[in-house]
Amino acid sequence: MSNVIQEANWKFHWRLTESAGIMVYLADFKGRRVLWEGSLPYVTVDHQRELDVDDQVEPHGPWWIPLGTRTIAGPVRVQSFRGGVELSANFVAGPYQYQQLWRFHDDGRMCPWLTILGPGVHDQHTYHPHFRFDFDLDGASDDAFERYEEGRWQRVEREGWFPYSGEADDSGNVWRQIDFGSRASINIRPHSWDDAEVFAIRYHDGEWAPFSPRSAAGSQPFPAGYVGDETIDGEDVSLWYVAHVHFDQSFPYTAGPWIRVEGLS
């Protein structure tokens, strides 16, 4: 099967990674570059039991297993649907079962999703899928990142952590990346139950998933570990969308954003 798909106004490449699920790269919409690379670097799982003593700290840390060549169950599927094309693959690791999806619509929508199928180790857990996007809208540089806040879009000057505050524009978008040259934008709409947050980080070569969310003991995990004080206005920006899925028993649940490309003619 070819790893280049040209359908529904999109042209993109994909490959199965060792640890970051299906990676999509060099994606163009209507002949214009949109994405350098997008992947699902990790899905961590926390367990939070109800403890009797108020000040008792949950003793167990998070864990994770890479979604990739060692956990894939069956082939990567490429299927057309009305108005688009999608990739999907199942991953199984003991009690954890996932289905990763990449959906591309002919109107510019792109849906990088993860369906969590359960059952997990027990019901008191939280899943944290981490999606990473390196959008290169009509080129790598001259990008800006904005978040919808206080009733309007606001430019973000420096890299940082931007949780969903409950505010969104009329289309439900909460974050967007804009290309100065073309004025085109990538709009990101979270699922309301994702409890989502976005990390906007200035792009550096080699700074993608370091094959683990775990940095040194006592240090911030990734992607928080990448956040510094660098300016992002007018620079090349990479975005991490992190969902926090608290559902105890109501699986399957599909996490991930709706993404729409606008302004590319």
Partner: protein, 217 residues
């Protein structure tokens, strides 16, 4: 990751000056000439999975590097992953076939994160730090074998319980041995997917350090 800083430092913001052309060649408009090479011209083949030969080449190049001589000599390391790495123009290495090799050096308890330029046959970047990369397949198998022979684990397994999965685990607080030591969690359970027992394995000392019923995890 330090590898980022090192690689970023090598980034050039302007395209290198070209050799002067023949006087017969037409001068390009200034605005065009200033445009740097951009991502739209990236070669998709650079993202292709590494071939077995490229992986072998990358590991040979890395293990010859004097900076990891102690790791190679002692031989207590595990290669976690070897995958293609693609950098964007105008980075100096844009367009090169690169391999990222991540290993864990048990002799020094450190992660090894290397960028190998396969075109040039050199280690382009090497970072040694205390981060915890994911488990290698060998480490996953080792954790299972350690857990399977542990008496505390064996005594708690029910009929039909089998190792299900091995996950990369770390402790939340310093009170947990796994806070700083490389550890794995082996889940045991039935084939229908439900877990019954969790065994935490310290991969450095190669011993089980916690055995917890799954419902109490």
């Amino acid at each position: 990751m330090c590898i980022v800083a090192a690689m970023a430092a090598k980034t050039v913001r302007k395209a290198p000056a070209k050799a002067s052309k023949s006087v017969k060649s037409k001068a390009k408009p200034a605005s065009k000439a200033k445009l740097p090479a951009d991502v739209v011209k990236a070669d998709p083949a650079l993202f292709d999975p590494l071939t077995p030969g490229e992986i072998a080449d990358a590991l040979r190049t890395l293990t010859e590097d004097r900076r990891v001589a102690s790791m190679t000599k002692v031989g207590r390391y595990r290669v976690i992953c070897t995958e293609p790495l693609v950098v964007k123009p105008p980075h100096l290495m844009a367009g090169h076939r690169l391999a990222r090799v991540v290993a864990y050096d048990y002799a020094s308890n450190r992660a090894v994160d290397a960028c190998i330029d396969l075109d040039a046959g050199v280690v382009a970047d090497l970072q040694l730090d205390k981060s915890q990369p994911m488990l290698s397949r060998d480490e996953e198998a080792l954790a299972v074998s350690i857990a399977m022979i542990d008496e505390r684990v064996r005594s708690k397994l029910a009929m039909g319980d089998m190792p299900q999965a091995t996950l990369h685990y770390w402790g939340r607080t310093k009170a947990d041995i796994s806070y700083e030591r490389r550890s794995a969690a082996v889940t045991f359970g039935r084939s229908d997917g439900h877990a019954s027992l969790i065994a935490i394995v310290d991969l450095i000392d190669q011993q089980v350090i916690q055995v917890v019923p799954a419902e109490q995890w």
